[in-house]
Symmetry: C2
Subunit: 579 residues, 2 copies
């Protein structure tokens, strides 16, 4: 089978059959998140059971993926979400995007459901697709599973796999991807994509791009010039060095300064124990402990290297990466000020293939229900171990914060559309609150984080416009396969992204392309969500956040609902006309 070049690969897990199809015209100029949204609208029955046979698990290629352009080889994975009940895109770095591109896979669409319980492995290569039984991999953690598969298929392959969490159909399960060094640490975490993969009876997807080819470039010289401009800007940006040295934890002090650091199940916005879980402390541990790596790249060719590899003091527990989101949700949110305890929890949850944000939030709700004392890292680890064992309590927690709150009758549950908020309290960061509320994806900082905007984060005015612009921009980046931090490079010259796209594809797009892709993503996701039964009533923060004041700012969330409801009026009108 010759590659040349992009096709849609369609796999049926019940019949174990495969077809390679031309890319429909209307999909060609879309990628990543926008392409996913298009496929969901075109192909997935919006009221289907997310864990039933009518849902589809989709891997969609970003438009810039395939060339080891720094921070631009991310893979978008999506489906109807069992968490939100709506459209979902979760993306991750690592090898998956790059190797899928070498096989000429524009989109991988996984359909149907096996008739009986069985666990399989899907192998994609230049020769096509094959299934293998994977019963011997059942219940393996991702770090136990990866070496077995690398041994069997060669250590250059990419793997997207689920852990025990996905096999147990836990709604907090993500899909773990190998990083450039073969470690299963790059998770498409949010929205339960791992449970969708589990419901399809797939333990792992092995992608062997070795027999493939690099995707063609229409104007290679032009592309390289644009790449060069991008790299120079990226390397010269002051944030690049900060993220290389400190990683995402750099933002913790900022969140604390705004009173937006989730503390003790979002009951406070400031954590007394910040110093011992801060960027500086993390860097100190990373630079003094043997085996740590403070500046680790998750994808080949990445010059930012915001990731890290952490080893706890016992020298045994290793986790990669330690991200701000995890430290916020599993640290301050649980009242825990011990990086080693957080790292340990992080490692176990990663290994189960679960979303650390969702699990951290669920543990916060569990603490509120009396299942642990805030600050008790050992008890938190015990609770994480319940998840690993699949006990009833573990299954509750593994299904996330909303389910945990319902089971234990807890009122203070930080979710939107059933999905946990990340480590920014929206009362003190109101633009991010608007994103949480109105993003078609549920509460998710990656859909439009406003913390770096020059605005009074406590003032409800102007937050809707701010969030809207960022939602389009981030959805645009997610459609390119670009990491949020790629913006450090792209920001310098708005002509670079169109130059890359035009030289690669022979297009003539202009500087508006990022917003165009972002708008299209959000428009299509809203269309899917509406057909799935989501309405403006779902575009709300939890009621208690509009009443309960957050210390130290004593803010409540007070962006008017009517203003939030109008945020995408123009998109909905376009949608109306298109029908």
């Amino acid at each position: 089978m010759s590659i040349s070049f992009f096709y849609v690969w369609r796999v049926n897990v019940r019949t174990q059959t495969f077809t390679r199809e031309p890319v429909p015209e209307s999909w060609k100029k879309l990628g990543g998140r926008a392409l996913l949204a298009r496929i969901l609208v075109d192909e997935v029955h919006p009221t289907c059971d997310p864990l039933g046979p009518d849902n589809k698990l989709i891997f969609a290629q970003g438009l810039l993926v395939g060339h080891m352009l720094s921070s631009c080889d991310r893979i978008s994975i999506g489906a109807k979400s069992p968490v939100t009940g709506g459209a979902k895109e979760a993306n991750a770095g690592g090898r998956t995007g790059l190797q899928l591109s070498h096989l000429g896979i524009k989109a991988l669409i996984i359909e149907d459901q096996p008739d009986e319980d069985r666990l399989s492995l899907l192998h994609l290569g230049a020769e096509g697709v094959r299934f293998e039984p994977a019963d011997e991999l059942a219940a393996l953690s991702v770090s136990a599973c990866a070496p077995v598969l690398l041994e069997r298929f060669g250590n250059k392959v990419a793997i997207a796999m689920i852990g025990p969490g996905g096999e147990m159909l836990m709604h907090a399960a993500g899909i773990q991807n190998l990083d450039k060094d073969g470690a299963p640490t790059r998770i498409a975490a949010r929205g339960g994509m791992g449970s969708v993969m589990g419901s399809k009876g797939l333990k792992a997807i092995v992608i062997d791009g070795s027999g493939g080819e690099r995707p063609p470039i229409v104007d290679a010289d032009g592309f390289n010039q644009a790449r060069q401009a991008y790299n120079t800007a990226l390397m010269g940006h002051p944030q690049t060095a900060i993220y290389r040295d400190y990683g995402t934890i750099a933002v913790a002090r900022m969140a604390q300064a705004f009173g937006a650091l989730p503390t003790r199940n979002f009951s406070e916005g400031e954590f007394a124990g910040l110093e011992t879980i801060s960027a500086e402390q993390l860097r100190q541990n990373l630079t003094t402990r043997k085996g740590c790596d403070p500046s680790h790249a998750c994808m080949a060719g990445c010059t930012i290297q915001s990731s890290n590899v952490y080893v706890t003091e016992d020298g045994e527990t290793t986790v990669s990466p330690m991200e701000y989101e995890t430290i916020g949700l599993m640290g301050s949110n649980l009242g825990i000020d011990d990086l080693d305890a957080i790292a340990h929890m992080n490692a176990v949850v990663n290994d189960l293939g679960l979303d650390t944000i969702e699990i951290g939030a669920a543990l916060g709700v569990a603490a509120e229900a009396g299942l642990m004392e805030y600050g008790d890292g050992e008890r938190a680890l015990e609770l994480v171990d319940e998840i690993r064992q699949g006990t009833t309590l573990g299954r509750v927690l593994g299904n996330g914060a909303a389910v945990t709150g319902k089971v234990f009758g807890v009122k203070r549950v930080p979710v939107v559309k059933g999905q946990a908020m990340s480590a920014y309290d929206p009362r003190a960061l109101k633009g991010t609150g608007v994103t949480y509320a109105t993003s078609p994806q549920g509460a998710d900082h990656t859909c439009g984080l406003t913390i770096r905007a020059e605005i009074d984060h406590l003032d409800p005015n102007g937050q809707v416009d701010l969030s809207r612009g960022l939602q389009f921009r981030t959805a645009g980046f997610d459609s390119l396969g670009a990491c949020a931090f790629a913006g450090f490079g792209f920001g310098a010259d708005p002509a670079v992204i169109p130059a890359l796209l035009n030289t690669r594809y022979g297009w003539t797009v202009n500087e508006g392309i990022v917003e165009t892709l972002g708008r299209e993503s959000v428009r299509l996701e809203r269309q899917f969500n509406r057909m799935a039964g989501l309405t403006a009533a779902d575009d709300r923060l939890p009621e208690w956040m509009t009443r309960e004041q957050l210390s130290p700012t004593n803010a409540v969330f007070d962006v008017p609902a009517e203003e939030m409801d109008a945020i995408f009026n123009d998109l909905d009108a376009e949608q109306g006309q298109a029908q």
Copy 2:
């Protein structure tokens, strides 16, 4: 305080204050379910947290309540439901309706939420309203609580109370009312009204109507004539005697004959063990065991006496009533063919103040998840005991079938809008399936049961019209305060209901009044649900019921979605015009 006569009593549980207000003009000609729906639309913020301060718990009087008219003193209790997220009305017999009517209470509206955790008792009497601390009643089962309160307040009072389930905010919690003999056995079971009461910090509402008065009747002679005609028809109807002798279990054999008896978590429609849980077996036990009562009236003045009092062979466990729904859900649905085991489970679940339908369905899902073997009554009792203890597993089960299915990753979950189906499999009784799907109340046989209709229950044609008519009729009855079985009397002469209403109130309504009230109920509930974010996507049976064939008929649910979506088009159009 003189009564004369109907007012709205409004109570705030945070400030512990009370006002008595004139009945708004637009509420006056409504009662029960229709009045509840009107109040929800007029007063309750549709997107509020059902267990938060903005929800209201409402007791609404049926239009015929207050005169010991046989089977017509039921009380309607409602709120925004934590189960369905929409409008909810659950009604029950017993003393509550009658005594509220003697105090001139057209509607009791309970608002807000205490600032801290505290348990109170609300006392309503001719002198007005008072609160009393109720901490000593915490965690008491309803059968332990009732005698304490009857001792304190006299054994004539009516009581509406919650059990430990409601205190734990379990979504399957109902509100238990005393029957005419003072036993707490008349539960407004469905939709989690007990958890709403628990969220308001109320253990019990004691209603002392002794200082009150009977509601006035404009034309007493005319009313008595109409009553007489009704009673004669009721006594003469053949079903009255059947229900007196057998109770609701009389329908079990019919459900089996249609292949619609839920068996082993709705995986089959026919139960081999029917004989030992049949009407005949139940009657034999009831007539031969000491302490049993086969024909018990739940309300004063009821001539049908469909209820019963059951004593197990050990002579210790007593339950009242044993209903078909419970026997279906806790018997055949769990593969259990032992009436004594079912009675025992029934007693414990009643005593926790929980909905036996929802818990039976949750246990079925738990069996599918491997937590019990079908047919193992002892294990089922252990699981019920987990609920009593409030263990994590118990809390999962106590939140009902949908939550249980989510936690354990079970696909075959028999719910609509998050609420469990009752003991009629909709694949073999398609009209009832239409009711389950399209009722604003979620899956609920009392909203329009089609089993007695002369139709081919397997044919998808005609079921939407059949369901629609019955939905209006039952909602009309629920607005009168009339039991479904009152229809045996009212059915004989359509002039009787308007005669009763016209003589009582001085109105001039005609025979269309039942349908008018029913339409108004459904129209307002749909309006509330729409504002709460429910859409046509929620008006669906679970997807698996459209694929998985039900033995022995091999039926799937195949009433077209488009036909169901159009079922209330005329109401929605009226609604559009009214705005």
